[in-house]
């Protein structure tokens, strides 16, 4: 059998041995459950997901607009200052084509996790989600995408209220980013972004 060590003597255990009680086993199924408090930042974020929009927090000290939102700025070590509604469009920062499922099944059609830099949030600020309605071969870093929301009555205040992000048709990778930027300071910076 491939992969079996050749330097070990003995008899391999087969599943039939386990079923017929030929080897000693013990079984324990833990019942471990949590109900995590969302607190302020996550709570508001989820509430807005249910409303069908993305919300971020701004730090007035470093001027970053952070998503997912947080009540503290990890760079300035101070409180963040304001809620900012951002767009539900963005740019693929990085992605993977995942051919093995979470329970280790081989997939013919890959899952496509991606970090999406959200329009209106600061550079490098994005949310981790999945891409859909796109051929795996067509996915590119820098691709413009938009959120595909579940119908309002199906939304529960969860990251999965966005079904997936899909490419914005007719938009070249990383094109027209300046037009999406709501803040002047950020709009200037976005020039360098084009060449990334």
């Amino acid at each position: 059998m491939a992969g079996q060590p050749t330097n070990v003597r003995g008899t391999p255990v087969r599943s039939a041995d386990l079923k017929k009680g030929r080897v000693f086993t013990t079984t324990y199924v833990p019942r471990i459950q949590y109900a995590w408090d969302t607190g302020q930042a996550i709570g508001r974020y989820l509430e807005e997901l249910k409303n069908g929009r993305l919300i971020a927090r701004r730090c007035n000290n470093c001027q970053r607009i952070m998503i997912p939102p947080r009540m503290f700025c990890e760079r300035c070590f101070g409180p963040t200052h304001a809620w900012v509604v951002v767009k539900d469009t963005g740019t693929v920062n990085t992605f993977s084509l995942s051919y093995v499922s979470w329970d280790v099944r081989r997939l013919k059609k890959p899952e496509i996790p991606a970090v999406i830099e959200i329009d209106g949030a600061s550079k490098g600020m994005g949310i981790l989600h999945v891409l859909g309605n796109v051929s795996p071969k067509a996915v590119r870093i820098g691709m413009k995408v938009r959120a595909v929301w579940k119908p309002a009555q199906q939304r529960t205040g969860s990251i999965t209220d966005i079904a997936y992000f899909e490419p914005i048709k007719g938009k070249a990778p990383a094109a027209k980013r300046t037009a999406k930027k709501p803040f002047k300071a950020k709009a200037k910076k976005s020039k360098s972004r084009k060449r990334r």
């Binding site: 013990t26 324990y28 833990p30 019942r31 471990i32 459950q33 949590y34 109900a35 995590w36 408090d37 969302t38 607190g39 302020q40 930042a41 996550i42 947080r70 009540m71 503290f72 990890e74 760079r75 070590f77």
Partner: protein
């Protein structure tokens, strides 16, 4: 640089049965901000960070990955101990004494209210082959220990009930406490048995909360905004945890930890030299067992019960114990329990303990235990005065 280490700042939230308005990160951020403000420093001045957390209590694997942002620890040395917070204090003391860094922040918190199946998590801590298949609630291990402890020491169930009443009542003077109640020993003795001879009223209830403690080298401590408290002694130890053959009577882990701390502090008669004690009382009998292990009653362990009856361990007694309310009154805050003991020591030694202030307190001892089924403990001795010969 000499080897002295001072506590220069503390930050904390009140212990509360639930804290739905804050995520664990927001709770930690609040405590950290308070601690750095108290110390008169910026987060940027903290050179190293220690957090104390058990993954299964947080519901997150590799919990150290979830801590830097809200402590100001991004791109800094940091690690998480799966220990009580007092072990974190010992860790920080070693980092500073070794000369590695000069300012360390230690954090521990509890979001016990978020754990929906606490007894199952406790069950996960007992041996899967020998013990778990038997199927009884793991808190019964405390019942096993208490039974032999009473049998061997002559301490009575009434005295244990009195510990619970004392600590719940002490908590009335502590605004941080989650479970203050004006109770008598008769009240607590009327509670139903949870795990005979242990009554429900003698088991601490969990609470949420967070504590951050900032420690610093001698030079940094002298320049701090608040009065520094000196870590005069620190110790930690484990006994054999095997349930089938462990010592149920003596808290050896605490005796050994205390010996380490006494040796470091040069203490030979703890009862006389230390002004007050904050010790683990997750189960009421543990307060007495731990005091015995700390060497307060060297002649006969049964004296622990008599001293209690005579009121010697009350706030107005000769040897006040758990003036804060302990885990019974303040709440059992999981890994943060040892740090809430430190908070009480610091407040008392600074003279900031308000209505429960002990007059003239100059030296205090904090002791922690990791809870059933462990034999893991730590001891810290703090003083407002440095050792004269240092």
């Amino acid at each position: 640089m000499n080897g002295r280490v001072g506590i220069i700042g503390i930050g904390y939230t009140a212990a509360q049965p639930t804290t739905p308005y804050s995520s664990f990160k927001e709770l930690m951020f609040e405590a950290a901000q308070r601690a750095y403000f108290d110390a008169g420093i910026d987060a940027a001045e903290v050179e190293s960070f220690v957090t104390c957390a058990e993954d299964l209590n947080t519901g997150l694997s590799i919990f150290d990955e979830y801590t830097p942002d809200q402590l100001g620890a991004v791109q800094k040395p940091m690690h998480t101990l799966t220990q009580d917070g007092l072990h974190g204090i010992a860790d920080a003391v070693m980092q500073i004494k070794s000369g590695l860094v000069e300012v360390v922040a230690v954090e521990a918190h509890s979001k016990a209210s978020n754990i929906l199946t606490p007894d199952w998590i406790l069950d996960y801590a007992v041996d899967p082959i020998f013990n778990r298949p038997l199927g009884f609630n793991p808190h019964a291990l405390a019942g096993l220990e208490m039974n032999l402890f009473l049998h061997e020491t002559g301490i009575t169930p009434q005295q244990v009930s009195q510990v619970a009443a004392k600590n719940r009542t002490n908590a009335l003077r502590n605004p941080l406490a989650a479970y203050p109640a004006r109770l008598t020993a008769d009240d607590t003795a009327a509670g139903p048995y949870a795990h005979y001879p242990l009554r429900e009223t003698e088991m601490a209830q969990t609470a949420d909360g967070c504590v951050v403690v900032v420690l610093a080298s001698d030079d940094k401590a002298r320049a701090a905004a608040s009065q520094p408290l000196w870590v005069r002694g620190i110790g930690f130890a484990n006994d054999s945890p095997t349930l089938e053959s462990r010592d149920w009577v003596h808290a050896e882990y605490t005796r050994i930890a205390a010996q380490m701390a006494y040796r470091m502090a040069g203490i030979t008669n703890p009862a006389r030299e230390i002004d007050f004690f904050e010790v683990d009382d997750t189960y009421a009998y543990k307060e007495l067992q731990h005091l015995i292990a700390l060497g307060l009653y060297p002649n006969r362990p049964g004296e622990a019960g008599r001293a209690l009856e005579q009121g010697l361990t009350r706030p107005d007694g000769k040897t006040p114990v758990n003036v804060s309310g302990g885990c019974l009154g303040l709440g059992w805050t999981l890994e943060a329990s040892g740090l809430y003991r430190i908070v009480e020591l610091v407040l008392q030694l600074r003279g900031q303990a308000g209505p429960r202030q002990l007059p003239g307190a100059k030296m205090g001892l904090a002791q922690s235990w990791r809870g059933v089924p462990t034999t893991s403990g730590a001891v810290a001795i703090l003083s407002s005065e440095q050792k004269p010969w240092e």
